[in-house]
Symmetry: C2
Subunit: 221 residues, 2 copies
DNA sequence: ACCTGAACACCGTTCAAGT
DNA sequence: ACCTGAACACCGTTCAAGT
């Protein structure tokens, strides 16, 4: 029985811990992530994690930054803010929707997390370089985050029970079809996001015609 | 020592449990709400709660419905969808922003909760009665929920650390002023919400001119 | 019906002990 | 440096016991 207390090659690494934590969260939700369960998944005992992270929250922080690192901000490179905003928002939503259980944690903002700050820098910088005053650019970035985080936080369509008897017409005269929403979850949620994003950008362009290139102004839609 | 096992008047009620739970969540966050802690706050022992709710999640459900019950949907009564949408969204955000720690839970949708369903019925019904096709009305309601939930989930401004040294200009060339955001939290967050909401409604009106009364069409802003 | 304490299988985290 | 088991103060929930 030679149970090594310390192998020559470390059993764990921050990367492996973070990757496994994200898998666990995606598969079973945030409450399923306990240090003991995560350690078991990694083949070690609970306290081992504390050699690589000082707290469970620090692990979650690293998981959150991994998710944000997937967001693509290249759409700002062309210099057109509408293209940039649309591309950023779509990639942002795709990244978050792939890991909905992490979204509440992400809503705490970038803090000091490098990937979060890189994204904020690119989006804010892209808007400013396209001519937006800094204060307005800040607001636009904020509203995109609101919309994206809200849309990735939970499905609208699945928020309604798939049971025709759940919505008594006497109480809720307009919800007669609500039980059908769950079936069309993807279409409803993606349609709402895309329609809303377009409306947001259209509305911003309407209020700031001076920032819309004259070529586009002829055909604003 | 006559420690009564059962007093003639019940010590607890669902209402009292829910109200105390909400206070605790607001003051100390979701993780602070444990059944033992909540019971202590109510002056009883932990298991007593199970005489009134079958599970902790059921308590959270009731808390969530209490929050949604504060949302005012009267703005739809005039029959104008833009007035309705603006009023609903503002009241919705106010209700959620007063209890940000409950927002992740609310994102699960109304399910079978009566206040959630009443709100959905009024908003969806208001849009349909203003002339919106049901499928489009659904999307509009969804996008409002996205935007409101995202904006109430966490402050954008407070997402950045209030420390000038946190954002190295070499790494983040555009975030030189980011550390000042926290100071202006309210203005930034409320400004972003209000600007975004207006843009959303403007953008929707732009795509659906047939649903805008001719009186308003002359001065669309 | 409604409260209690004891008990179950869990938590996050610390720490002394091993190599 | 990096892993271990034991231990601490916590969890949600069940249940037999009291009135």
């Amino acid at each position: 029985m030679c149970v090594m207390a310390r192998p020559r090659k470390p059993l764990l690494s921050r990367e492996r811990i973070v990757a496994t934590a994200l898998e666990l969260i995606d598969a079973e939700g945030l409450p399923a992530l306990s240090t003991r369960r995560l350690a078991a998944e990694l083949g070690v005992s609970g306290p081992s994690l504390y050699n690589h992270f000082t707290t469970k929250d620090e692990i979650l922080d690293a998981v959150a930054d991994t998710v944000i690192a997937e967001v693509d901000v290249a759409a700002f490179e062309g210099g057109d803010w509408r293209t940039g905003l649309l591309g950023w928002a779509r990639s942002y939503r795709a990244a978050l929707a792939a890991h909905p259980h992490v979204v509440p944690y992400l809503a705490q903002g970038p803090g000091r997390r490098p990937a979060g700050l890189r994204m904020a820098d690119a989006a804010f910088g892209g808007m400013v370089e396209a001519g937006w005053p800094p204060a307005q650019a800040t607001r636009v970035c904020a509203m995109v985050r609101y919309f994206v985080a809200g849309s990735a936080l939970g499905s609208f369509a699945r928020g309604f029970v798939d049971d025709p008897g759940a919505y008594d017409p006497a109480d809720y005269p307009h919800l007669g079809q609500a039980h059908l929403l769950a079936e069309h979850q993807r279409q409803v949620d993606e349609g709402a996001f895309e329609t809303g994003l377009q409306a947001l950008v259209d509305g911003l362009a309407l209020r700031h015609p001076e920032l819309v290139p004259p070529t586009d102004r002829a055909r604003p839609l």
